[in-house]
Amino acid sequence: MTSKFDIHNQFKEVKKERAKIDGKGLVLGRPAYTDDFAPQDALVVKIIRSPHAFARILRIDTAKALELPGVICVLTHEDVERIPITRAGQGHPEPSPRDKFILDRYVRYVGDEAAVVAAEDEESAAEAAELVEIEYEPLEPVLNFEKAMDNPVRVHPEDDIKENFPIGFEPERNIAAAYHMQVGDVDTVLENSEITMRRSYYTQAQAHTALEPHTAFTYLDLHDRLNVVTSTQNPFHTRRLMGQALGMPLRRIRVKKPRIGGGFGGKQHLHVELFAALVTLKTGRPAKVVMTRQEVFEATFTRHQMRIDVRLGSDKSGRITAVDMHVLSNTGAYGEHALTVFMVAGSKTLPIYNKVDAVQFGGTIVYTNKVPAGAFRGYGAIQGNFALESAIDELAAELGMDPLELRRKNMIAEGETSDIFKIMGEGTEGVEMVVESCKLDYCTSRGAELIGWNPESNARWIDDHRVRAKGMAIAMQGSGIPLIDMGSAIMELQDGGCFKLHIGATDLGTGSDTILAQIAAEELGVSSDKIIVYSSDTDRTPFDVGAYASSTTYVSGNAVYTAAVNMKQVLCSAVERKFSQEEHSVSFDGTVFWGDEGRLITLDELSYDTLYHDGKDMKTLTASGSFSGEKSPPPYMAGFVEIELDVDTGKIDVINYAAVVDCGTPINTNLARVQVEGALVQGIGMTLYEDVLYSENGRLRTNTLFDYKIPSRMDVRKLTVELAESYEPSGPFGAKSVGEIGIDTPLAAIANALYNAVGIRLRSVPLTPEQVWREIRKTGILKSGIRKAAD
């Protein structure tokens, strides 16, 4: 086998800057997204949503709405077969409770679906929605997630909901799922540790805010099959879940994803598809649902709000002896991804500190009458990282040690493993794994260099009220879910010497179609513009679980790599037969096939011969590949931030965020970098701006882009992103994932910088100016003469 360094010096198509193949078309505004393709005559579907946090529907009167000209149908729970479903786009069987009905007698949060109207046009649909009379019996809601467990009020009083397999589901206690694991005896180790600490951290229910609202349209085709065009991250899961929910055989459903306007996990679930489908199945007519932004905020999913209690133990030299994380997670009204997100809070953080004597992780995921939570980029990891990486800095302060040094002393390194890998998977057990690529050592030292890390002076006053300070955190993620996620690819040689590449993988705008073409091209030795990519269509592309869990580059990429290896083999065999050459004697350089005696034929010529000229030997040359990971090699990163704190207002600005990322070989250096940059700013948004506020009766107040503020381009001064040289032997051309890792560190890094600035420790995000100001005032830190003149 060639040494890995030889391989990566020979790259022609990967590890290159390649423009996204759909980029120009998107800039030029060509039709691309679901709503751009919706049939002109599609019925407009509006969902009538609950104004109550918790209520029983006593009566629905549809008569007035149905009288309105242009109104075609009004559907209520009485029109829908009662099947408990989950809307979570996950493997099968889903590790989420089946606790939802398409339409139900109960509504469990403000925004929950109560009824559906369909009309000829937008205006009539909107008007009809107001004419449907629904009589509710409001019930007392459970709004505080810390008081949800064993609350006398049951969010799910119905008895026909269930779990697919044991996940700790106890709806009678408002528990959607629960979990516990331990290695060693944490309590004893902590007792015997020289230093111990216990802290609690809180994170909020961040909103994805993909700029394209959730959209789907459905129609019946010539074969009377239900066609679903939707902004989804996982067409195959969507088809399966729709089949379950509608009681339809999967063969009668086709799901197709056009371009989608951002996902970030928010389009990993069924929010619109079923309602369009109901109307199409009822009326036989095309139907579409385009969510308003308010609906996206109030009635899709959010990040899970969590409280994480951390206990740490160490000796005086800074060797960490034990880590304990106890998590309370708020899944809102329904339990999609409840268990899996929660588990990642441990499984993607605890292995970083793999040298402990004991480690423990556990807790519960509770129901409340709030907007349900689901998958969101970095899920679990970002919450866990905030808690653990803040706690590590708190420990460093206690030890009087440089927090960077404390991490370097305890963090995982190449060639090592962690018990966690085997014990904790996503909803199930994990898979044993030795880390074959880990450049955390480089990432931390290079990051320190980029930010100018100096443990003696990580704070600097620039005038009498502004102080600049640095902070850091490290993170790991995964690359797909081992033995659960699967992707596949089919290739075909076409005349003109180009290849079709059909993949089930789902490009969310990240550029996965492009990088998968690069992988195929690299292996075949052709330029990537010879690869014609078609993706995300359950009728026409092979299976793939979809885009989530940082799986596409590694899982789908390996599938494409395998397909390309096989394609090359098929091509060479065809040439061997055609020229009566010995088996395995022909080679292909990307343009020409060579035999023992020299040049045989070009790819271009072969492509015409096999389709037009070779008589009875003519055939379509195809190959396929599938991949399911036996492990999930983690990407790693170090995040270093410099903030500017205005001590008089409490406002924090990010001056520079330096991130050094080990994602293995970046298949596309530009796209990998932008993944990190985009994720950093989402993480910074969660840390500083994206406050989630509810009214007393459980209505989401931050339900528009006017009130829920994501960062604008003026809010981050500078990002400095570098990719470490790294090579993951199990990845396609050495690649690991890069989609999520970037979002994990900003919370702790910024909170740590705030501590380094003025010595205040905030354990709850977002770090709004008011929260910071209150803490500054409470601690009286400004009176102690901390304010210094500029250097």
Partner: protein, 170 residues
């Protein structure tokens, strides 16, 4: 309804008024409701390149140029477009294509949903500001939100695009 002469016209609900405007160089007549916003009219008429991202005039994806100035079509009364020149991204294909080369070379085009509106703002900025510095660029474009890119790649692309355009002119 047409009220050039100052006559007020009784308008029954659902009775449309007519506006005449030029969209991407082509003269068009649209039936509109007086309280309606331009975005709804454009999308209804098939200009799907004009995107809708929020309900509150906050995101910038619906940006079009009116008489060369960038406006949020979601917050612009359709009646105000009467007699005006409107450009969507498809009306500026040549210039947009130039910028697209620089933007896609950074990878920051990402999901692309904000890009047509954003690109129109960039083109308007290039026409309006002379040699803008980084801060001026970011300020001018701060009304165009993007959730994918983290904005840094945009800036790299814009700087190269402006430099190249500058070199062309010299």
């Amino acid at each position: 309804m047409n009220n050039r002469n100052g006559k007020s016209v009784n308008k029954d609900r659902r009775d449309a008024a007519y506006i005449h405007c030029t969209v991407n160089g082509r003269k068009r007549e649209f039936a509109v409701q007086p309280g309606e916003m331009l975005l709804e009219v454009l999308r209804r008429e098939g200009y799907t390149e004009v995107k809708k991202g929020c309900d509150t005039g906050s995101c910038g994806v619906c940006t079009v140029l009116i008489e060369g100035k960038p406006v949020l079509s979601c917050s612009y009364l359709a009646m105000r477009a009467d007699g005006k020149n409107i450009s969507t991204i498809r009306g500026l294909e040549a210039e947009a294509s130039k910028f697209a080369d620089f933007l896609t070379a950074t990878g920051a085009d990402q999901c692309g949903f904000c890009t047509p509106g954003f690109t129109l703002s960039v083109i308007a900025m290039k026409r309006e500001l002379k040699n803008p510095d980084e801060m001026e660029i970011k300020k001018y474009l701060s009304g165009n939100l993007c959730r994918c890119s983290g904005y840094e790649g945009h800036l790299r692309g814009i700087k190269r695009y402006l430099e190249a355009s500058h070199d062309e002119q010299v």
